[in-house]
Symmetry: C2
Subunit: 324 residues, 2 copies
């Protein structure tokens, strides 16, 4: 779907964000510039910057400062992806080679750090202490979530609470921060900041649940990475959790975690994916995602019926329907 | 030297910083808490937090916000060390095992990120947009310097300008930021902010030159890491630069860079270290360090003769005399 259809009234302003991001890659040091260009090529839908602009659209709309904020949030997202892909030893992201396949792991660590730094720098240009505070706390939350995931790596025991905590810190916290800080910069009253914050968090939870479902249901080409990748990373997501809780006799997931050889592991992953697809696990997961989209929509009840609100509402549909 | 002797009037207030740092390690997640405790054990002299407090001592002294700032700067320093040690594949730091020898490299990347995040978070608690801006820019400067170092890795061609640029971004920028932001938080007039900033930068340059000299002259035990380590990392520092420029017939450094086998490399390092020690390279380097200490002292000319100023002056002596 084109940005205009998806992001309605803020589609044009996203071009400013794009130019701000391009400025980050324009560094005098040629090798670094090439790497940053490459990273900016692996572009997603720019949903986070769009959320910043959409959330600000109900009150004042200080475009210049919003552009800095939106770019800062997209860069923070990019920085976490660089370190995530390194940590996950991923070879591709959206079908494009990840950084550590092009340069050393050492350089990849530092390019990620550099993006964190530029992101923090851009955020200070909003001039809002409150925005910076939310931003800093979110960065800490994201890292905390990643650390828990990696340090509990290989543990089969995951509860629904663990899963929620992980996806909130990993994904929903940044979507929540996008709408919350966009609202703050627009000078929105507290009830509206709170409403838009809740919208962002619930949209983010739904977004990640759908992501975790797609890891089972999508094909490798549209996903840009191999199917069953979460299991390969020993990460228990919602569909797997359903299977473990409701089909205790099914051994496939345990076999993945116990596998010591590549072929044995791939065979176990294939069986686990099939077991999930042949169970109500996907339906159950998508129902939870739908539930959070409904909560996201309900959070907007008090806001006026404007193109911005209608776009935020339609994003809750898009999140559920997306195939990649 | 004890903190009281070294840091005079702010020695007691450094305890507050220590408590603030300890709070960062007090996280509910046990594995992470252990790792953070370990990192806080590898403690240096806390020169950066002391500089924050000393620079603030000429005007207002908002202890609570200064404590947050000083802890933020020490954490930023710690975060860069975690990633540096990972990138340098160092096994020890100040004689203590580095993080990646205790947990996976993946976890080490994320612990470093977590410290960056907590550092940024603490910095926002100063409530000063200007402080946050300087802080964010410094983080970008440090990462940029590290990246240049790693991406130009193995290049023998280094100029004095390259060297200065690298040590300013790697070390002096953070000492400069410590004194500059301490001065800003104290509401110092612009001329005093600028004077204290210049003091910090020159002290930092001298500090790093002495560090680079110690890599040749110290013994392994007091250094907490092997001698000749910079050459081992293919990093050209000031003494090596002098040798390359003034003893073009000496092959040892080129042999280090050309070495493909461990024994061959270690032999070349031994010869290069000996060549440096038997030349005026160390004297030349220490003269430059002395020169920057004199500039640091001169920067304080306009400030009143207080215990804080006397302590800052004596720190320029300490930096030159330290053996580890």
């Amino acid at each position: 779907m084109a940005a205009t259809a998806l992001f309605g009234p803020v589609a044009d302003d996203l071009d400013h964000v794009e130019r701000e991001l391009a400025r980050v890659a324009r560094v005098e040091y040629a090798v670094l510039a090439t790497l940053l260009d490459h990273l900016l090529e692996i572009r997603g839908k720019r949903i986070r910057p769009a959320l910043v602009l959409l959330a600000a659209g109900f009150h004042d709309y200080p475009l210049d400062r919003l552009t800095k904020l939106a770019a800062a949030i997209e860069l923070l997202h990019t920085a976490t992806l660089v370190h995530d892909d390194l940590v996950d030893e991923a070879a591709t992201r959206r079908g494009v080679a990840t950084l550590q396949t092009l340069v050393s792991e050492r350089a990849t660590v530092l390019v990620g750090d550099y993006l964190f730094a530029r992101s923090a720098s851009l955020c200070t240009e909003t001039g809002s202490v409150r925005v910076m505070r939310v931003f800093g706390d979110t960065l800490a939350t994201i890292c905390d979530g990643e650390l828990r995931q990696i340090l509990s790596h290989g543990e089969l025991k995951t509860s629904l609470d663990d899963y929620y905590r992980r996806i909130i810190s990993k994904t929903a916290s940044l979507l929540r921060t996008a709408t919350e800080t966009g609202a703050i910069l627009s000078g929105a009253p507290e009830w509206a900041v709170s409403a838009l914050r809740s919208y962002g968090e619930n949209l983010g939870i739904a977004f990640q649940i759908v992501d975790d479902v797609l890891d089972f249901t999508a094909d490798e080409r549209s996903l840009g990475k191999p199917v069953g990748n979460d299991l390969r990373q020993r990460t228990i997501t919602l569909p797997t959790l359903w299977l473990l809780d409701n089909r205790p006799e099914e051994q496939a997931v345990r076999d993945v975690f116990a596998a010591t050889e590549h072929d044995e592991e791939e065979d176990a992953i294939r069986r686990a994916v099939a077991a999930v697809l042949n169970s109500p696990a996907i339906g159950y997961s998508l129902n939870l995602a739908r539930d959070h989209c409904a909560r996201a929509r309900a959070a907007l009840d008090g806001l006026p019926d404007t193109p911005h609100r209608r776009t935020l509402l339609s994003l809750t549909e898009y999140v559920l329907e997306r195939q990649s």
